[in-house]
């Protein structure tokens, strides 16, 4: 395997990311719903699947990454149905704001995208890390991406690090007591279960890392 550096994420890669996310979320629909059963209302799998299916269907043609991500945001806001809708919706919307008209993204721009995305979710959910939510996967991922990218290494490695941080963050939600969303109604009884939103966040980031990796080969 030759080590070519990936220095930019192109529009086709972003499109592939959305397509892959839709597929992975469809494949994991039952799993996400199962996670949502003990601490939620058993709809997260169905919500995410429905949302990303709609996002894929409405995804605009062309190479404008900002427009693509904004369209994804609107589809999720309308079609997810649960709390994840406005949360992921804000994530893509706020993340995409500085990217209007861009046809490829540098490592810096991506790092900014992740930071804006996380800030958006925090604002929308009035939440922070350690509250047993998707932020426990997203925030460490954004940090890992920025740190890895700062080392001068390529985007592939940075995305890999982000996906791995998301996975760890997701697992770290198991012992937490939920402080936001439906799970928080359960108080102490939310302890011992993995958060479904953190899980879908990990799946989405892993999908990003995978498609960029595949594109490089």
């Amino acid at each position: 395997m030759t080590e070519t550096l990936t220095t930019a994420v192109t529009a086709p890669m972003v499109r592939a990311w959305i397509e892959r996310s839709a597929k992975v979320l469809a494949d994991n629909r039952a799993y996400l719903t199962e996670l949502d059963a003990p601490i939620g209302d058993s709809d997260h799998g169905n919500n995410m699947d429905r949302g990303f299916k709609a996002a894929l269907e409405k995804l605009p043609e062309g190479d404008d990454i900002g427009a693509m991500l904004k369209s994804v945001a609107m589809s999720l806001i309308s079609k997810v149905g649960g709390a994840a809708g406005p949360l992921y919706g804000t994530m893509f919307l706020d993340g995409a704001k500085p990217l209007a008209g861009k046809t490829s993204l540098s490592a810096d721009e991506l790092a900014q995208f992740f930071d804006d995305a996380v800030a958006g979710v925090m604002k929308r959910g009035r939440s922070d890390v350690e509250m047993k939510t998707m932020l426990d996967a997203l925030a460490p991922a954004a940090r890992a991406f920025r740190e890895e990218a700062a080392k001068g290494s390529d985007i592939r490695a940075a995305l890999k690090a982000a996906a791995e941080a998301a996975r760890q963050g997701m697992e770290a939600t198991i012992p937490m007591q939920a402080q936001r969303g439906r799970a928080s109604y359960l108080g102490e009884r939310s302890i011992g279960h993995q958060d479904p939103g953190a899980t879908s966040s990990h799946l989405i980031l892993q999908a990003f890392s995978d498609v960029v990796e595949e594109a490089a080969q």
């Binding site: 429905r50 806001i77 309308s78 149905g81 709390a83 809708g85 406005p86 919706g89 439906r182």
Partner: protein
């Protein structure tokens, strides 16, 4: 006017709440419902874009308030506000208030013309148990002029009367305070709906009103006027049907043809009572045949189609506006549904696609699509859905008119006539000019169709389903329409006309008296009072129940919650439904019967084995006890609703003491769980059971000490006591609650209830029967729960009875040997 947006996980809840808000606000306040997601299989959830659209729908310079239930509803409400343009955003506020109470309080306050900040303040405090702090100790007497009044209207200052009061008081600029002296309450702001409701002013209470000296006299005068009008209590009752004028002067158009014309009597079903005599006029309103013509420019054709849809919508809106008070907020939603067909992406998409694919004219394509859709509905089993076919054709015809440029089919009659339709449609009702139309008959149609619901409110007789022969009656033939009996007489002879005139006089007198009595308590001529209640089986009936004169709901059938869906409704969904009902009943108790779903009802997800004899099978409490995960969810939902107003739980089909105890044990267990979940409920709520199994009637003395009330279900009790299936026409003679065997069971149950000091009601069909009334009164029944439309007439019946006579009668009929003998004896009472 300030607009309201309701964001809820449930579309039904959002729409139901909008309905109550529409009715309560007094004037049309712009309310938009944004509930549910666009996914027929999982409709619960929220859609941020739908919220955004809803905000824009009710947007005006005065602002918009957005209310949400929980979780994503809030997040999506805030999301939608963020998505607005900055200049729009300024006007939109998220209102952090309990959804149901908040929306209702806001609607009333907006209707009364309060400013935005005041509306928000009221909404936020809507569910507070105590008067808001600022209202508490305050010397209202200082600097003001005070006068005392006694409130006499039967409902006291509850929702609607309170709303009227708030509206009236808002016309004054100074501070006005109201104190309930009888209940020793602190003065509250008389411009605040919450303040007034929290003062709990009931009939007979003395209150004081304090106003600023400059306007005090005017305030008191306005208040006196409201007292004079009984705070609208009378006005909310539908006016008695106006007498129908016989067109004595109307020229008698001789039947043009003699051969084809039928004579005699056609039997149908009564939709609206009353009598009419006049010439028959046929109105055609079926889909015409349309020749598919090829078009050169499909794009232009699509354009023409889109315009026709917009024109049709504008026309509906305009005729609704023109109808004004003639049609209620409840009925308006029928036309909202019509408008929604005009926006249905399925329908529109299909039409556009076919125009493009086939290149034929829009009217032919539209006709085909409408006919198909109507055909699909018409083929369905469910009578409610079946009836929608008529709505589809109605909208279809309207659009067609715009496409073909045809004249309106509306009955343009040259002289007052009785109209004849193949099938009456909602738009026909809306287009009617009652002053020129004597009555309506139709060949087909059922009581559950939208047209029937609308027509039933008309003050002219309406009869449906008289049959195809109607088509054979020649235009202009003299007919006599008896809406009370549901009968059309073609070419009546003078004797028939004379009889009709007599019947009409009696009917008009009685009707006027019944309407006047409707909202008063039910009392016998010697002052014995009983409770009159309504039976309900859906949220939609709230409006009818509210104006029926019912003091409470004696039976809420909950099966509707479980029908036509993929999975059982969850606790939250059920809770929201019960809570909506409790709010809509404005303090009148709601008796919720736990689900009685038998093997004969199609509820696929329950996965029940087929039963040879569902009536004697695994249904009612038997099923609930065997499937606690099903039962507990319902109990939890009912209990939680009891935190918001008076609620009772009632168990169906109890056969043994053990079952009853087991059911009560479930209630206790669910109460314990709710406590640990920190959820509120009324732990003193009444728990009762139905008496519908002979075993329960026989053992009533053992069961009574275990419950707070009994309610007799006469339909099942009769079928079980007489061993006669109520659906089998061959044994209908036996299926008769007037059989002394059934009456003795009833008597025994009432006796057992009173011996144990509990009350007893009846919620079967017998409760509303005027023939049964003296017997049941004599036996001592406490509560009579019936179809809302029977209440006015029932109160009138009771009014003419005296308790001692009823007691003698009741003792007598128990000794008779047949149902016929019982009826005869009752007739003797009225005769003598």
């Amino acid at each position: 006017m300030i607009g309201i947006v309701i964001v809820s996980h449930s579309r039904k809840l959002a729409e139901g709440l909008k309905e109550i808000a529409d009715v309560m606000s007094g004037q049309p306040v712009p309310v938009a419902a944004a509930g549910g997601v666009d996914d027929p299989e999982n409709p619960l959830g929220t859609d941020g874009v739908r919220v955004l659209d809803a905000i824009r729908e009710v947007m005006s310079d005065e602002g918009v308030l957005v209310f949400a239930d929980i979780g994503s509803a809030r997040l999506n409400a805030e999301m939608a506000i963020d998505l607005l343009e900055p200049e729009e955003q300024e006007k939109v506020h998220f209102c952090d208030a309990p959804l149901v109470e908040g929306v209702l309080a806001a609607a009333v306050q907006i209707g009364a013309g309060s400013p935005l900040q005041a509306v928000m303040g009221e909404a936020r405090q809507a569910a507070a148990q105590k008067p808001p702090a600022s209202e508490a100790p305050r010397d209202a007497q200082s600097g003001g002029v005070t006068r005392e009044f006694t409130i006499r209207n039967p409902m006291g200052l509850h929702a609607r009367p309170a709303a009227l009061l708030v509206t009236a008081m808002n016309a004054f600029s100074g501070e006005i305070r109201l104190a309930n002296l009888s209940k020793g309450r602190q003065p509250v702001n008389a411009k605040s709906i919450n303040g007034i409701m929290l003062s709990e002013v009931t009939a007979g209470d003395r209150i004081s009103l304090t106003a600023e000296p400059a306007e005090a006299e005017a305030v008191f005068a306005a208040f006196e006027e409201l007292i004079g009008k009984n705070f609208g209590d009378e006005a909310t009752a539908s006016p008695p049907a106006a007498p129908v004028e016989t067109p004595a002067a109307a020229p008698q158009t001789a039947p043009p043809s003699s051969s084809g014309t039928l004579s005699g009597t056609l039997e149908g079903i009564s939709i609206a009572s009353g009598f009419a005599l006049g010439p028959l006029h046929h109105v055609r309103n079926t889909l015409p045949e349309i020749e598919p013509v090829e078009v050169a420019d499909p794009a232009a054709e699509t354009e023409r189609f889109t315009r026709a849809l917009a024109d049709a919508e504008a026309e509906i809106t305009a005729s609704l506006a023109a109808a004004g008070q003639r049609i209620t907020a409840y009925d308006r939603k029928i036309f909202d549904a019509h408008i929604s067909y005009l926006h249905d992406p399925e329908i529109i998409g299909t039409v556009k696609r076919r125009i493009a694919d086939k290149g034929i004219c829009a009217e032919a394509v539209w006709r085909e699509v409408v006919a198909d859709l109507a055909g699909t509905y018409a083929a369905l089993e469910d009578p409610l859905l079946k009836a929608r076919a008529s709505d589809i054709i109605d909208v279809g015809l309207r659009v067609l008119r715009f496409l073909t440029g045809g004249e309106t089919a509306a009955a343009a009659v040259s002289e007052p006539s009785v109209l004849a339709f193949a099938d009456l449609r909602p738009s026909d009702v809306l287009a009617l000019d009652e002053s020129r139309i004597l009555g309506i008959c139709a060949m087909t149609g059922g009581k559950t169709s939208h047209a029937a619901i609308l027509a039933s409110a008309l003050s002219i007789p309406v009869v449906f389903a008289v049959g195809e022969q109607l088509a054979g009656v020649a235009e202009g033939t003299q007919v006599l329409l008896d809406g009370t009996a549901g009968r059309l007489t073609v070419a009546p002879d003078p004797a028939a006309i004379a009889t009709m005139k007599k019947d009409r006089k009696t009917w008009e007198d009685r009707r006027a008296r019944a309407e006047a009595l409707k909202t008063r308590p039910a009392q016998t001529s010697d002052g014995h009072e009983i409770r009159v209640a309504a039976n309900m089986a859906s949220v939609e009936e709230l409006g009818v129940v509210a104006t029926s004169g019912a003091q409470e709901v004696g039976l809420l059938r909950t099966e509707f919650l479980y029908m036509r869906r993929e999975a059982a409704p969850g606790e939250d969904e059920q809770y929201e439904v019960y809570r909506t009902l409790v709010a809509g009943l404005e303090g009148r108790p709601l008796t919720v019967r736990t689900a009685d779903i038998g093997g004969d009802k199609p509820v696929p997800y329950m996965d029940r084995p087929p039963e040879a004899n569902p009536n004697l099978g695994w249904r009612g409490l038997r099923y609930s006890l065997a499937v606690p995960e099903f039962f507990d969810v319902q109990l939890a939902a009912i209990l939680r609703a009891s935190a918001h107003g008076p609620v009772r739980i009632m168990f169906p089909l109890v056969s043994t003491l053990q079952e009853l105890r087991a059911a009560k044990e479930r209630v206790r267990a669910v109460m314990a769980t709710l406590r640990s979940r920190g959820l509120a409920f009324d732990d003193t709520l009444e728990i009762g059971m139905m008496i519908e199994v002979p075993a329960a009637a026989e053992m009533a003395d053992m069961l009574a000490p275990e419950v707070d009330f009994f309610s007799i279900g006469t339909n099942d009790l009769t079928q079980y006591v007489m061993a006669a299936d109520r659906a089998n026409a061959r044994v209908q003679d036996l299926f008769d609650p007037f059989n002394p065997a059934v009456l003795r069971m009833i008597a025994r149950s009432i006796e057992a209830a009173h011996a144990a000091d509990i009350w007893i009601g009846m919620c079967g069909a017998m409760a509303g029967s005027p023939i049964a009334a003296p017997i049941l009164l004599g036996l001592g029944l406490d509560e009579f729960s019936m179809t809302p439309s029977d209440i006015a007439e029932f109160k009138l019946t009771v009014r003419d009875l005296a308790l001692p006579d009823c007691r003698t009668l009741a003792a007598d009929v128990l000794k008779l040997s047949s149902a016929d003998a019982v009826r005869e004896r009752v007739a003797g009472l009225h005769g003598g």
